[in-house]
């Protein structure tokens, strides 16, 4: 009995958060019905004409839908992999550094791009990769013809993924570094006495020590990544790279906000939510299977 009363006031403390969640995240979900209507702003949600699945049928006739869905998944998956592996490797390398001062400096500097918004960074990127920009003049010294990077549909996803990883890896590195400090130094000493080389210590002590953190980051990024691309791609893309760079969010923005096709945009947004949901479920199943990580 004592336990239960203890729980009660925890629930009370949870209440404000729950109310916020319901008001901000759950209530607007009712707007999903727009996907099944011919939404008329004058009539509102309650009185707009009900058209069933027509929006979805039209969406699947459009060759765009398949393209943006595949683009979204392709870019998302590459970003997840990149944002997991690059910071991990970088953190492990930093961890092996003996000079603490170098480690601190490097850590701080790579962390900086995280604080810049994509609006600013996109301007910088467009200049750096411009036809007469530094990257092309560097290529020029090797006798390579200048490349118009942002007009190349085949390169665009990799520029997007590459720049996103470059922007964020410093931030994730810090999380890994924090996890690394929690490993008991006695384990390293013991391994060293047993004759383990540096590589062996890395493999058998360091990595198992931070597995939970890796899995946690992976799961969190899977849930978020379908939301994460809009600012970046919106500021960098152009019609030439629609075929590989147009994602669900940018498509919804153009259809809903620029072209006033509210219902079609909602239908597409709903599709995105479904994909997100599937991704989260899959990642959770994977996490519980391979890393014994459970939420429930």
């Amino acid at each position: 009995m004592r336990n239960r009363s203890f729980e009660k006031h925890y629930y009370l403390m949870l209440l404000p958060g729950l109310i916020w969640l319901v008001l901000i995240n759950i209530v607007p979900m009712s707007g999903i019905v727009m996907a099944f209507q011919d939404f008329n702003p004058g009539a509102g949600i309650w009185k707009s004409d009900w058209i069933g699945l027509e929006n979805f049928e039209y969406m699947f006739v459009l060759s765009d839908s398949k393209t943006v869905l595949l683009n979204t998944i392709y870019i998302a998956v590459l970003k997840i992999i990149g944002n997991l592996i690059v910071p991990l490797v970088f953190a492990l390398m930093l961890n092996e550094l003996r000079m603490q001062i170098v480690k601190r400096w490097v850590q701080t500097i790579v962390y900086l791009p995280h604080f810049l918004s994509w609006v600013i960074l996109s301007g910088i990127l467009l200049d750096v990769f411009a036809f007469q920009g530094p990257v092309n003049s560097l290529l020029g010294t090797f006798g390579i013809e200048p490349v118009l990077f942002f007009a190349r549909a085949d390169l665009f996803p990799y520029i997007i993924v590459g720049s996103d990883v470059w922007k964020e890896f410093g931030f994730n590195t810090i999380i890994y570094l924090a996890a690394l400090t929690s490993i008991n130094p006695a384990l390293y000493e013991a391994a060293a006495i047993d004759g383990a080389t540096r590589m062996k210590r890395l493999w058998h002590v360091t990595l198992p020590g931070i597995t939970t953190t890796i899995v946690l980051l992976a799961v969190l990024s899977l849930g978020n990544v379908l939301n994460a691309g809009f600012d970046q791609i919106f500021n960098l893309y152009n019609p030439l790279v629609y075929s590989t760079g147009d994602i669900i969010d940018t498509w919804v923005y153009r259809a809903g906000l620029l072209n006033l096709q509210f219902s079609l945009a909602t239908a597409m947004g709903l599709l995105k939510s479904v994909v997100s949901f599937i991704l989260i479920v899959v990642s959770y199943l994977l996490a519980s299977k391979f890393a014994n990580y459970r939420i429930f």
């Binding site: 209530v27 607007p28 009712s30 707007g31 008329n40 702003p41 004058g42 009539a43 509102g44 949600i45 309650w46 039209y58 006739v61 459009l62 765009d64 301007g123 467009l126 411009a130 036809f131 007469q132 118009l148 942002f150 007009a151 190349r152 549909a153 152009n238 019609p239 030439l240 629609y242 075929s243 153009r254 259809a255 906000l257 620029l258 072209n259 006033l260 096709q261 509210f262 079609l264």
Partner: protein, 573 residues
């Protein structure tokens, strides 16, 4: 969130109904007043005529408050200390003359942000009393029943000056706002000059390289290549651009929905092939056809592709963030745009390099040796009144006052601070002004001769032209201009240099329609995307020229045929 907005709207609506009860005594029998000519009405705007007589300039007896959404140019610093967008010389003038208080309920940066805010207001059914919208937005609002019918208010309250300006468009302006025989918004009327895109070229570069002004597309290509390869700016580096094209998000060519003011597009090159992508034309059998799927467009694209590959056109076409930048920094030799380039971007270009001699020509010519530009609808902006607003005639009074007093305003405070201002200009304003000002320079006319109704800035221009133009008066090269007062120079250079090509003979091509049909509302965005993507890819070498044929097929299949049918029905009626 939607639900709360809706109940809020209901609540306000309920409030408004109670309010309207107090002020519904408007029954104006006398419209003889309106026919007397603007001169008389303009003279005694002070006399507060009671609202019941339908006086276009009548002052309200009790103050009327209008809620507006206003676009503000964030770089505009013209408001004097202490004035605000809500309280400035224009709003005070309106209060004094009409007893109207304008209240800004939201403001955004002009341009894309404004459109977005209006779209959001439409979607949430939370509109200001008066709002400026574009064609697609107006259609959406009419469909949603969000706008007030202005037919009666226009009949009774529009001033003769405004009626005259609208009549001069030969029905085009009214067509754009008429739905089922009812006038659902006030159309703007812009000068024809905004629609004609001409070739702007650095004449000092031409002279330096010993070249002639290019007359055809072939010559244009040669000149553009010379500009790229022969170092016209003389800095020893290969950093110059031949033809600057549109920036990221810009349009390759104006289309029937946004038919004028397409800066940095390549419209004149298309029209030199008699290709009018984005416009609805009369086909050989007399039926409407869509310009973008005609064989002439394929020809033009093939040529543009060659020009792009040879470097004559900016490599960063459609990727560059700001197409004006190379013009301002003196790296570009040619671009296309309407007459008003003297306002922007040329002032900065001339500040950077006083010798940058930008001149404008009605070129290149087509195969018949004619300049055949596409022409615009005179109305691109619409002033809509929210459904249920109790003073729809206030919209007309605001515009009447604007047109009557525009010339008297001190325009060093940007006119954009006039609440919900849409442009009213006679269609031939630029050509007429140019001819008149030439006479002023020649001494055959004075400012006093030029106080002509409608041409509101002309008399003022006549007093200023002497400050900007130096002798010889028949030579418009940059060294014969005084750029000290860049504000005066901007307008005069626009009229004299930008306006000169408008006096040349031209073969005008109009679109059959300038607004969306029903199917377009849902399908057009995707068709347009298909078009933009295909054309850019062809020009920039990412797809073969023959992908045009596939595009034509896809376009027809994905709704184009249906849209064409609708346009046919619309043009029949």
């Amino acid at each position: 969130m939607k639900a709360t907005k809706n109940s809020l709207a209901l609540l306000t609506a309920a409030l408004l109904i109670t309010l309207t009860a107090c002020s519904s005594g408007n029954q104006p029998p006398a419209n003889g007043n309106a026919n007397e000519g603007s001169g008389a009405a303009a003279g005694n705007g002070e006399t507060a005529a009671p609202a019941e007589t339908a006086d276009p300039f009548g002052k309200y007896e009790t103050p009327v408050t209008i809620n507006v959404g206003q676009a503000i140019d964030p770089t505009d610093k013209s408001l004097p200390q202490g004035d605000t967008p809500e309280n400035n010389q224009y709003t005070r003038h309106i209060k004094e003359q009409l007893n109207i208080d304008t209240k800004i309920i939201w403001q955004t940066a002009s341009g894309k942000d404004y459109d977005q805010k209006v779209n959001l207001s439409i979607a949430s059914d939370d509109l200001p009393d008066l709002v400026i919208v574009n064609d697609a937005q107006l259609r959406q609002m009419v469909k949603a029943g969000q706008v007030e019918d202005l037919t009666e208010a226009f009949e009774k309250y529009a001033s003769p000056a405004i009626k005259g300006i609208i009549e001069k468009t030969e029905g085009r302006a009214l067509d754009a706002v008429t739905f089922d025989g009812k006038m659902m918004a006030l159309p703007s009327v812009t000068a024809r000059g905004d629609a004609v895109h001409t070739m702007w070229i650095r004449k000092d570069w031409l002279d330096k390289l010993g070249l002639e002004v290019p007359k055809t597309v072939e010559e244009l290509e040669k000149v553009a290549k010379a500009f790229v390869e022969k170092d016209p700016d003389g800095n020893g580096q290969a950093d110059t651009i031949g033809i600057t094209g549109q920036q990221a998000g810009g349009k390759l060519y104006a289309n029937f929905l946004a038919s004028s003011n397409n800066t940095f597009g390549l419209d004149p090159i298309f029209s030199a092939f008699n290709a009018y992508p984005g416009f609805w034309l009369k086909g050989e059998d007399g039926k409407p056809v869509y310009g973008s799927i005609q064989p002439q467009v394929k020809e033009a694209l093939a040529k543009l592709r060659d020009m792009y590959a040879s470097g004559a056109i900016d490599r960063e076409l459609s990727i560059r963030k700001d197409a004006a930048e190379p013009v301002v920094s003196g790296k570009s030799g040619i671009f296309f745009g309407p007459f008003w380039m003297g306002y922007w971007p040329l002032p900065d270009a001339v500040k950077n390099d006083p010798k940058a001699n930008w001149q404008s020509f009605a070129l290149p010519l087509d195969k018949n040796g004619e300049f055949s530009p596409h022409m615009a609808t005179p109305s691109t902006q619409f002033l809509a009144v929210r459904k249920g607003y109790e003073h729809p005639e206030a919209a007309l009074k605001l515009m009447n006052l604007l047109v009557r007093d525009e010339a008297k305003f001190d325009v060093s405070v940007s006119l954009n601070h006039y609440p919900v201002r849409i442009v009213y200009a006679p269609v031939d304003e630029i050509e007429y002004s140019l001819n008149a000002l030439k006479e002023v320079l020649a001494g055959t006319k004075t400012a006093a001769d030029l106080d002509i109704p409608g041409y509101k800035l002309l008399a003022d221009d006549a007093t200023k032209i002497g400050k900007a133009k130096l002798e010889p008066f028949d030579n418009n090269d940059i060294q014969y201009w005084n750029t000290e007062d860049i504000g005066i120079w901007s307008r005069m250079y626009s009229i004299f240099v930008g306006g000169a090509p408008l006096l040349e003979p031209r073969n005008e091509v109009y679109s059959l329609v300038y607004s969306q049909t029903k199917t377009m509302e849902s399908r057009w965005a995707n068709l347009e995307k298909l078009e933009t993507e295909t054309f850019l890819k062809i020009i920039m070498g990412a797809a073969p020229v023959d992908s045009f044929d596939q595009f034509v097929e896809d376009w027809k299949k994905q709704g184009g045929d249906k849209v064409t049918q609708e346009v046919e029905e619309e043009t029949k009626g």
